[in-house]
Amino acid sequence: MPTATILSKIKERLPGAVLDITEFAGEHILHVQGQDILKVLTELKDDGFNFLADLTAIDNLTLGGFERFAVSYHLLSHKTAERVTVKAYISEEKPSLPSVESLWKTADWQEREVFDLYGIKFEGHPNLIRIMNPDDFEGYPLRKDYPRLGRKERDDFPVVDRPIQKRKRPE
């Protein structure tokens, strides 16, 4: 079954979830609601897209789109060698969507990376902690409103006090 047919069938089956189907440079992109991502990806997995190649996010602050954040999933079918991109949109006020770790284990680390760099929460993720940045890091560096040069220098390094005996100056 060609990818275009699979995508339009999913649109028929889940009418509320699919926002749009577009094509750019020969690649099919399926735009869906964030809350329905698990349903959509389960359908796609059953249709033969068995490999989650990549998971990342885009901050649509100045780009424009359905919502502020888009989490994009690149799926691959080992049988037909076809790829499809699924973009799940979530709002700025409630940046969270269901985790797909139950479908693919690779989503574990990749969702942690998106959480670390974008602050998007994945419901049902077993261990959602920062992966690249230290745990006490403030802010989400890949968001468009985070300055490239950073917010400030870190000044809260722990200071180790060593009792150093000061020499008396010879008089």
Partner: protein, 400 residues
């Protein structure tokens, strides 16, 4: 005489910090291991020690400038990164490059693959105590880096590709230099296999260590030689050919057991196949230009023209000035390529400005490494270097 009764020893759980500066991690990895005796019961990898913010930087650099950043990701095969990024940008913009460009790109990618695999096998061997294989591989890697220096001008930070072509053409007589090195590679792969394949210690240290099943490999997103060692017949060069890989005749190396030994065998076979591809590429090398379309505002003009003619100089500035030059279409493109470690993909989102809106690297090292804690559980501590070595974690690509 009292009789000694055997009582179970009460042992405490030992928590061991492996890294960040352990010699076998080849970079900065940290693994927190919980040991029961010498057996690892739980391993928690901690990454991020080399997090450099490449993706954030990419939003501020234009398409040609970002190529210099891609060198620093997988620093063992920088040319593969250059090519992968250029392919993604070309797909987004819609540029067709010349046939000669694509053949040179294939040649360079395959030479990188040879260097990467030889170094990886050598490193795996030296971590397990076999120094000789390492020296054989390392010497040849130096020779291949010399070839890169002849073509690109540098050994490591090559930045060889441009959007729409290559920085410069390969010099005359380059094929003779390459063929000489390829002959040596052919001999040395045989030497390394003679040294290791039937070596009892090598077999004991690598066979049945870190076994990945086929289903796990798909679930964890494993790609490249690691996936092929589990029996998945998937090579992007064959299944989704890019850069005219469909015009080359080569086989895909497959193994079935999915352990460290099989990953090593797959890598050695891939070196042989890469030699074949390099030879074919040199034989069939078409004539022509390596920079196309010096009218679109994407690719820089040849350096001769920039230095020797006013039109070239004007054009160079037209491309590089911040308020001129590129105007790519609004859209996005994801291009997967077969790098030595696995599927290296670049995902570029453009909003029509000269700098990309978002550049994402799909790093094979990160995704292949995520299975590590599952692999090491139940193995001895001394198997950790073997498993890390066979995954081929490159810290620059892991953290970006």
């Amino acid at each position: 005489m009292t009789r000694v009764t055997e009582q179970p020893l009460e042992t405490d759980k030992l928590v061991l910090n492996f890294g960040p500066h352990h010699p076998s991690t080849h970079g900065t990895l940290r693994i927190i291991m919980e040991l029961e005796g010498e057996t690892v019961t739980k391993a928690t990898p901690e990454i991020g020690y080399l997090h450099s913010g490449f993706e954030k930087l990419g939003e501020d650099l234009d398409f040609n400038q970002y190529i210099t950043i891609t060198d620093r990701m997988n620093y063992l095969s920088p040319l593969c990164n250059n090519v992968a990024y250029a392919l993604a940008a070309e797909k987004l913009i819609g540029i067709e490059v010349s046939k000669r460009t694509e053949y040179i790109r294939v040649l360079m990618c395959e030479l990188s693959r040879i260097a990467d695999h030889l170094l990886n096998v050598g490193m795996l061997a030296v971590d397990l105590g076999a120094m000789t294989a390492f020296l054989y591989g390392f010497k040849l890697r130096e020779d291949i880096y010399d070839l890169f220096e002849i073509a690109t001008g540098t050994r490591l930070t090559t930045s060889y590709t441009l959007v729409g072509g290559l920085m410069r053409d390969i010099p005359d007589g380059y094929d003779r230099a390459v063929l000489k090195v390829l002959d040596e590679v052919d001999e040395v792969t045989n030497d390394i296999e003679t040294l290791l394949n039937k070596n009892r210690i090598w077999q004991d240290r690598t066979k049945k260590i870190g076994i990945i099943s086929k289903d796990d490999a798909i679930s964890y997103g494993i790609s490249g030689p690691m996936a092929r060692a589990t029996g998945i017949e998937w090579d992007i060069r064959v299944n989704e050919p890019y850069s005219r890989y469909d015009e080359f005749d080569f086989d895909v190396a497959i193994a079935l057991n999915g352990d460290v030994f099989d990953r090593y065998l797959v890598r050695m076979e891939e070196v042989r196949q890469s030699i074949k591809i390099c030879r074919q590429s040199l034989e069939k090398m078409p004539a022509g230009d390596v920079i196309v379309d010096p009218g679109l505002g994407y690719s820089l003009p040849p350096k001769d023209e920039v230095y020797n003619s006013i039109e070239g100089l004007i054009y160079h500035f037209e491309v590089t000035m911040p308020n001129r030059g590129m105007a790519p279409p609004v859209g996005e493109a994801y291009v997967p390529t077969e790098s030595p470690n696995g599927e290296l993909g670049f995902y570029i989102v453009s909003d029509g400005n000269r700098t990309p809106y978002r550049v994402r690297t799909r790093p094979p090292s990160l995704i292949n490494y995520s299975i590590f804690s599952k692999l090491i559980e139940g193995h001895m501590l001394s198997d950790a270097p073997a498993i890390i070595g066979s995954i081929n974690v490159i810290a620059g690509e892991l953290d970006r």
